[in-house]
């Protein structure tokens, strides 16, 4: 038996090269018989700025979930404590004040970025993974954005528009949000902590007092094949945590969007105003619905 782990793993490959040549040939003939210009079913377009909001919201919740569990077992590692969230029976209620530098690559140079402020309120069910997020203008209370994940569907609403399905989970056949690890903040937390993309990084000063600091690094993301969604560069951020309660205080993250040679920075700062775990009362469960 060889001692090299990867060599041993290679030898354990369960797939053998027994492809059916006839079947392969039939597949080839079937494909080349198609007109190359036949368009794929067009996905419903999602405005570019929705992606960072979704990504940042998910990341924030992922890390928040992990950190919120710190008091549960001081001897356990961060990843172990995040695992405990899987069975958390509670609902999470999170309110943040979000300041974002939002790029819109479809606009002309000089007009591509806007700095926006919103109050984001999130209800998240640790059991079903249902999410209800709203972003509102802090001055007028006007709804800017709403995202609902429930009953196996993800829907979004832009300002005063109607709730509509997000394309990937409808006719295009992508895994539905409730079944998709990419949209599971607990799974994301586990992956980030295991990969050490999120890790404790000592202490720092925040509003005059010493707080815990976590560093968050995220790999770059490719844009969509159809060019609708821009690529996102690798990002680096930090999460500040109250040393007494272990609850989150602030999340900052910076990255940039890139598409067709155009690059615009994206920044977000989330100040946590409320972070609480609440009971599964009918009234609280109703908050998960639009």
């Amino acid at each position: 038996m060889t001692d090299d782990l990867l060599t041993r793993l290679t030898a354990a490959d369960p797939v053998t090269d027994d492809a059916d040549e006839t079947e392969a040939r039939q597949l080839l003939e079937r494909i080349v018989a198609e007109d190359r210009d036949t368009p794929s079913p067009a996905p419903r377009r999602r405005r570019g700025w929705q992606r960072p909001i979704l990504a940042v919201g998910a990341t924030a919740m992922a890390i928040v979930l992990a950190i919120a569990l710190i008091p549960s077992d001081k001897d356990a590692g961060l990843a172990d404590r995040a695992y405990a969230a899987v069975t958390a029976p509670k609902l999470f209620h999170i309110v943040t004040r979000a300041e974002t530098l939002n790029p819109d690559l479809d606009r002309p140079p000089g007009e591509r970025s806007t700095r926006d402020v919103a109050v984001m309120e999130t209800w998240f069910d640790g059991e079903s993974k249902d999410v209800h997020l709203t972003a509102r203008d802090p001055r007028t209370g006007k709804l800017l954005y709403e995202r609902v994940v429930t009953d196996g569907r993800e829907q979004v609403r832009l300002e005063d528009g109607a709730l509509s399905d997000v394309a990937e989970f409808g006719e295009d056949g992508e895994l539905r949000p409730a079944e998709n690890p990419r949209y599971d903040p607990v799974q994301q937390a586990k992956d980030m902590l295991q990969d050490e993309d999120a890790r404790e990084a000592g202490e720092t000063k925040f509003e005059g007092r010493t707080v815990k600091r976590l560093v968050i690094e995220r790999a770059p993301q490719k844009g969509s094949d159809d060019g609708d969604l821009p690529a996102i560069e690798a990002s680096r951020g930090e999460l500040l945590v109250d040393p007494d309660t272990n609850l989150p205080l602030l999340l900052r993250e910076k990255t940039a969007f890139v598409r067709d040679g155009v690059r615009e920075p994206f920044e977000v700062e989330l100040r946590f105003e409320t972070f609480e775990q609440v009971d599964r009362t009918p009234a609280n469960l109703a908050k998960l619905k639009p």
Binding site: M1, A12, E174, E179, N180, P181, D195, P220
Partner: protein, 172 residues
């Protein structure tokens, strides 16, 4: 070279690798659909296929499988896959069977990210730079992940030796 000639050459060179990639990660019916979809995308977007096409093709397969796996847990799918395949043979079949079963059982206990990292290198035979393209990260990041995944696989094997080993299906 006509587009059809180029595509046939691409298909002949990489169908086996794409098929094996899909079969390692999904049940046969999903793998078959993913392979067909991958090469259909390649045919329609032949002009976008890079000179070194395999990472690009596997990236398409990866996303296609994600789309197709509605309702199927990835860990379960992997355990199912490894549970229903005979291990590769070596000079000592009995020992190899034991080792292959043990290492696949240990692999099944890792996170999806760790499994994918290890499988891309050990089973799909990709260099880290190419594997990084498939999963959409930098080569440096991938190497770090590979190092950590190896460490965790070794730990899982050690743990399995220290305690009665679960069956693969129990590992699900």
């Amino acid at each position: 070279m006509t587009p059809r000639d180029r595509f046939e050459s691409l298909f002949a060179a990489h169908h086996g690798a794409v098929r094996a990639y899909a079969l390692r990660r999904a049940a046969p019916h999903l793998a078959q659909d993913a392979v067909a979809e991958t090469f259909t995308v390649a045919w329609r977007r032949l002009d976008d296929v890079p000179d070194d096409p395999l990472p690009w093709l596997l990236g398409v397969t990866r996303r296609t499988l994600a789309n197709l796996r509605r309702g199927e847990a990835r860990a379960g799918a992997l355990a199912e896959r490894v549970a229903h395949h005979e291990p590769a043979t070596t000079t000592d079949p009995a020992e190899a069977v034991d080792d292959a079963a043990a290492i696949r059982a240990a692999l099944a206990t890792l996170s999806e990210s760790d499994r994918e990292t290890l499988m891309l290198v050990a089973w799909d035979g990709l260099e880290p730079a190419d594997a990084a393209q498939v999963v959409g990260c930098t080569k440096t990041t991938f190497n770090v992940r590979l190092h950590r995944a190896r460490r965790r696989l070794a730990a899982a094997l050690d743990a399995a030796h220290a305690t009665p080993a679960p069956t693969l299906l129990e590992a699900r």
